[in-house]
Amino acid sequence: MQPNRSLGVVELRIPSKAEWVAVARLAVAAVANRLNFSIEDIEDVKLAVAEACTNCIQHANGSDQIEITCETEPEGLTVRVRDHGHGARPEAVTNRKSAEPRVGGLGVFLIRSLMDSVEYDVHPERGTNLVMTKKVST
């Protein structure tokens, strides 16, 4: 989306621990609530952010914080979720055609299903930087 149309940026930093994921998803839902999203769209964003944070906690060894940045525009919301752990293996976060029902492996699939665009920027040393966008339906 075009940065010059920004309605505002909200930044959040939480400890990389399970008990703080709810704070992230509620804060991002509140941000999304200020745009013209449907309730269903807001729920989608909430779950995608929670899945991203959960992955930072479960897989980003060595990172003690998660940074969540929300960029708001009339057309939609861009959320960045980044950690400073060992970055994801690129093949671990690629697009899969379908979810096989197993105990793990649904998080990235859900993120890619629920958001309109998803980009993973992974670095073994710098950590994982996920940028995802949800467009307001017109």
Binding site: A22, L47, A50, E51, T54, P101, F109
Partner: protein, 114 residues
């Protein structure tokens, strides 16, 4: 932001697990423990009532899938009660509708067990 778990015996060998709240990476261990306890005690036909669950993420789904796998090894099954459209959508997207029996009310979920 939290989950309440209540386990109750229904007719026969059947148990119902009532969940109320949000199931995420923080709260799902509590759900996992409750289901695991039942299975450890030899109860393999379960209804998990999600009517009062407002939110579930992949760790919550993982707990349900894990429970189903364990009871199936003993010839049992897990039926779900779910009416929330957002949660139904998640079961849809992930294909879990195909492996779980998902019902609109507890009666139907119970009847389908036996």
């Amino acid at each position: 932001m939290d989950i309440k778990v209540n386990v109750r015996e229904a007719q026969g060998q059947t148990y119902v697990v009532d969940l109320n709240g949000e199931i995420d990476v923080y709260t799902s261990p509590k759900v996992k423990d409750a289901i695991g306890d039942l299975i450890d005690k030899g109860h393999y036909n379960l209804v998990i009532n999600l009517e009062k669950v407002r939110y579930i993420d992949s760790t919550g789904l993982g707990v349900l899938i894990g429970g189903l796998k364990r009871v199936r090894e003993h010839g049992g099954t897990v039926n779900l009660v779910c009416t929330n459209p957002q949660i139904k959508k998640i079961f849809d997207i992930t294909g879990l509708v195909k492996i779980f029996g998902i019902y609109d009310d507890e009666d139907a979920a119970m009847k389908a067990l036996v």
